[in-house]
Amino acid sequence: MRISLFITCYNDTLFPETGQAVVRLLENLGHTIDFPLEQTCCGQMHYNTGYEREAMPLMRRFVDIFRDSEVVCIPSSSCVAMIRDHYPKMAAAQNDPELVRAVGELLPRVFELTELLVHRLGTEDVGAYFPHRVTYHASCHSLRSLQLGDAPLRLLRNVRGIELIDLPNVDRCCGFGGAFAIKMGDISAAMLAEKMTDVENTGAEVVTAVDNSCLMHIFGGLHRQRAGTRMAHIAEILASTDTGRNAGAQV
């Protein structure tokens, strides 16, 4: 299958290794990756912070770039939630029937990475090898908006060598919330403190998620405390193999 990758602005800029892992993972499964270089951002940060007007052209841009794609893969559940939950309403507000139609046609072909693997491609075992103690953080958008259920965990359980530890209070927000972490820094920090305690109590070396945004937040706090836990986007775990490349690599 020809899969168009929307890497998202922050993964592109801050976490290139996640994108590389997505490419490696999907190519290993026999798919062809297409990366339209015109892509930038879905508009989530603007929209969620109250800058709806500024988010509108970004929606149009996304739709223009991906309207002819067979499927679009996005390794970030909050960006998928932005597109799925808000684009239809935003398009309707533009009084542009053509745009509404284009959004409606595109949405069923937009997938979060683990959703694509489990629900669209029917793959639960990607042949990965990752000999580490790992805990999975369920991001709020993956849990409540995309309703991914246990799709990410089904993929992780099939990874050879992995020791998967349940994260207590897995349905509780880590306190990131985009601009919330800046605007309400002290409250966000209090929420983060609880999440870090839960992560540390698992004794995991690696905390993973389908969103690097939450991981950037959780790991940012853990790194400040010099805690012995690192982050890895789920794509990086799923792209690890026992042939040496990336096996147990330090991220």
Binding site: F35, T40, L58, K183, M184, S188
Partner: protein, 481 residues
Amino acid sequence: MTIRVGESGQAPSFQRAALPLLKDAQLRKNVRHATDVIQSKRASVVAETKDWQELRTSASAIKAHTLRHLDRYLQQFEQACTAAGGEVHWATDADEANRIITALVKQYQCNEVIKIKTMTSDEIGLNQALENSGIHAHETDLAELIIQLGNDKPSHIVVPALHKNRSQVREIFLEKMHLSELGERPEDLTAAARHYLREKFLNVKIGVCGANFLVAETGGVSIVESEGNGRMCLTLPDVLIAVAGIDKVIPSFQDLEVFLQLLPRSATGERMNPYNSLWTGVHAGDGPRHFHVVLLDNGRTGVLADAAARETLHCIRCAACLNTCPVYRQTGGHAYGSTYSGPIGAILTPQLNNMQHSQSLPFASSLCGACYEVCPVKINIPEVLIHLRSRIIQGQKGNFDFEALAMRAAAAAFASRRRFEATQRLGRIGQWPFESNGWVRNLPGMLGNWTRVRDLRALPRQTFREWWKERATSRKEQDHA
């Protein structure tokens, strides 16, 4: 018109009000403990209700229908209530409601009233207004009594003294009830309250209550409670005055079937409230001889006018959203500076205030969606929060603001590939004063809110797109070779 929502008009911003609360270890432990207990009780009684989602859908549909025809249902309520012997008063704002109630108390020549817990009376500042006219209001709900005696403010819609623990309650009772000794068991504390209140129940001639539901079909006022104090206030006084927001009306008696399943499970984790009272007009030899209902607008028609946020008025004040909210969990309710705290307070308070106050509240959420998940009437609180944020930002147009400037600059960068890639390169170069060994530990200005407790990984040498382009080039070269 003077709309008042508790003391929200004078309240500091959420982030400022939260600071001392975040430092209060006792309060934070109390809030965590209490919300954990209520949440787990709620979870088990919701899990056993097989048609829970259908009930939520029904409740949402009933509320949406009622709000679409609110004028009709309110008039129907007035007619039915009047026909049953009650008297209905209309109040556009807090002051008018307070004037009506004060005049009624004076008309019946009383200088004190007993009250059932009503958040609406806190919204309009009724106790203070009565006090200003020489009328003393006695709170009879245990938690409200604790708040009143302790000169405190409610921190939760259902459990107003949730931020106090047992030993703190004991201290308040010892001092304010002038007791020489008091045990520390829950029974000791409730016995003290019971003794203190009993005399009021028997002597005070006017009861003041709120309403959980106003039944348009019958003119009935539905009140649910857990302590029996409400039953006393409804049955013993000669006069009963109910104050209720116009959003409390539901069309028919049968609609209670839906709401009385949802409300107790969501609010206190009970299958049914211990006391369900439905008061309709006056009846000879039974209960109060005079029954008044004050229907309050106080900003509600303004909320109704905004189609994108109208569902805020679906709220049945169960507080399930407070108990599940990870933000409320850290601060408790006082940070919201309003009668209504938590996620529902964050959308209701600024709207009642016509977006003139409490503008920090819609930003006091990480948009995690836990509130929407538990809401028994399916208010999509995160959607409404985003909508209100947008209204606030649009209203600020023209002001110089670092955030707005940064947001517009980012939008301009994202509008073109060339500018986006230039910004990525610029960021990599510009980060050098802040970066050390691949990490950023100290950022200036607002961004310092991040680095105060979190490190930030520095921008890597190569973006994903640069890697992709490089790979494509090297593949092409290999193909040519």
